[in-house]
């Protein structure tokens, strides 16, 4: 983990209100693993007060990419950065995906900006693994495919690809590759993750989900990001024990 002042290389608008930011951050870049995130100080002043957590979308040499949409004040500031501006990264944080071991096909299931962590994951998968990317969104314009492979889309309004939720799409697709030994890597809104969790647990399919929640510190000192363990006895911390959990590990 480092705190690193990172100079902005570029901020590209790759969809309506969706931005891809490239920053130079050698120390964080060389430690980063797929599924980890950075807690970003978006301004030099004390406003906004807290850092903002963002998945590491991709890494190229000393450069890190973040994929984000404008949500509120913090992301608005981020989107207005120009080449040469500085942001401050705290990271890499969290545990990341476990992508080694016994499976043939990595099935990526993402809702909207949930696609963010997967370009980096796909890049790091052992070559022998097949990849299928299932991306869901409200409508055509909410489908983010940046850096993904073998994309099949699902939209709530049917404006692109499968008409329905990405989880329903998953169920369809699985029939086709029922034979194959798969592992699901998922990220997206809680509602989607819940549906996926129910399905994967009952079908006992190997499934890892990346969870979001409000955070302050991002590295375990504020206890602000609890999530119920499956047993319900204790809380896990999304920032430290996660953000990636096995689907059967937590209560959503």
């Amino acid at each position: 983990m480092y705190i690193e002042k990172a100079s902005v290389e570029s901020v590209k608008m790759i969809g309506e209100d969706t931005f891809l930011m490239k920053v130079l951050s050698p120390s964080v870049a060389c430690l980063a693993r797929p599924g980890q995130f950075c807690n970003i100080k978006v301004s030099e002043s004390d406003f906004p007060l807290l850092r903002r957590p963002f998945s590491i979308c991709d890494v190229e040499g000393d450069y890190i990419f973040f994929l984000f949409d404008i949500h509120g004040e913090g992301t608005k500031i981020l989107s207005s950065k120009k080449k040469g501006d500085y942001i401050e990264l705290l990271g890499p944080l969290g545990n990341g995906f476990r992508y080694d071991g016994e499976y043939d096909t990595a099935v990526i299931v993402a809702g909207g900006l949930g696609a963010a962590p997967f370009p980096f994951l796909i890049k790091n998968l052992p070559e022998e693994k097949n990849v299928m990317s299932l991306i869901g969104g409200r409508s055509k314009r909410n489908i983010v495919t940046h850096g993904l492979k073998n994309v099949v889309a699902a939209t709530d309004d049917g404006s692109e690809g499968f008409h329905g939720t990405v989880v329903d799409l998953l169920k369809n697709e699985l029939n086709k590759l029922s034979a194959a030994k798969i592992r699901i890597f998922a990220c997206g809104p809680n509602a989607m993750l819940k549906a996926l969790q129910n399905f994967s647990v009952e079908q006992n399919i190997d499934c890892q989900i990346s969870v979001e929640c409000a955070m302050a510190c991002g590295f375990g000192i504020c206890q602000g990001c609890p999530i119920d363990s499956a047993s319900g006895e204790s809380y896990l911390l999304v920032c430290k024990d996660g953000p990636v959990f096995n689907a059967d590990q937590v209560k959503l």
Binding site: D46, L50, A214, I221, P226
Partner: protein, 305 residues
């Protein structure tokens, strides 16, 4: 460059410098130790410890507010036994003061916690949290009741020779009355302030953003209030004060000492800059050099009114 004496003495508790990490904002020290050298700091205050482990409040526990944040962690902690077994061994490795913050639901529980921890040489002082606004059976009630605060101070005092610091609630009309009671009952110091009660609602769901409904407000937003409370205590009592509230940088820290703090704690800023303590200390050293202050303790209560 003159040589500045950074040490402070708070009612018998000697610190190498006035920078303390506030309770609940650094856990038990292990995570933040990866970002900052605890050996350089005056001390660390543990997350509030209770007799039995506490799971804490359900999510959502925190939300950002203008220049501040609300938290309702719910005193999630490992409990005194596990603390002694699993946390002290790590903490004692550092050359910095260890202050145990205690939260409880009854006067007896406060006493029992202190009794259990009292034999631990690694512990330099106790900070009694009578003011945590988050947990029903905890803080708030005590913190707003003069006689209760007096009773707790007296009972805890009677079973330990270590410095006893009472952490006061800001949610009262005259905080200096509480400081007086602490002094009268043998407390060595007070720390002020804990968080202020606040809330925040989602205008679409009409639900509280924090599951616990209310939370404790911290951060720069409360700095003017914290300064006023510390100043009030300083002008009305003669008990040492540990100033807390909204300190983000060395200027805020200097201001806190000027209004009366003998030492200070930093909380929320640790989430944003886990190395803030050392940066603040360095800033204070330069400030002292520039102003020809040989002993940093001379800053305490040096206001010109």
């Amino acid at each position: 460059m003159i040589n500045i004496d950074l040490s402070v003495n708070i009612g018998g508790l000697k610190l190498k410098n006035p920078v303390l990490l506030a309770s609940g904002t650094v856990g038990y020290g292990n995570e933040i130790a990866e970002f900052t050298d605890l050996n350089k700091l005056g001390g660390i205050v543990t997350k509030s410890l209770s007799l039995k482990p506490r799971k804490g409040n359900p999510p959502q526990r925190i939300v950002e507010t203008p220049s501040g944040m609300l938290n309702a962690i719910g005193l999630a902690n490992v409990g005194v036994e596990t603390f002694v077994k699993e946390k002290i061994p790590f903490l004692k490795k550092f050359d910095t003061a260890l202050i145990c913050n205690i939260a409880a639901g009854s006067v007896d529980e406060y006493v029992e916690c202190v009794r259990i921890l009292n034999d631990e040489d690694a512990i330099n002082a106790f900070e009694i949290n009578v003011s945590c606004p988050n947990v029903k059976e905890g803080g708030l009630e005590f913190g707003n009741d003069l006689s209760a605060v007096g009773r707790i101070t007296d009972r805890v005092r009677s079973i330990t020779s270590k410095p006893v610091i009472i952490k006061l609630s800001p949610n009262v009309s005259r905080i200096s009355d509480f400081a007086k009671v602490v002094k009268e009952n043998g407390g060595n110091a007070v720390s002020a302030i804990n968080t202020l009660v606040g809330t925040s609602f989602d205008i679409n769901t009409k639900k509280p953003k924090i599951k616990n409904i209310t939370g404790g407000l911290s951060g720069p937003a409360i700095k003017p209030i914290a300064l006023a409370k510390v100043l009030e205590i300083k002008r009305n009592t003669d008990i040492p004060i540990i100033g807390i509230g909204g300190i983000m940088n060395w200027k805020d820290a200097a201001e806190m000492m000027i209004v009366g703090a003998s030492a200070f704690q930093i909380g929320t800023v640790n989430f944003i800059n886990p190395n803030a303590g050392i940066e603040i200390l360095n800033g204070l050293i330069i400030y002292c050099e520039k102003n020809g202050i040989g002993n940093i303790s001379d800053l305490t209560g040096s206001f010109q009114i």
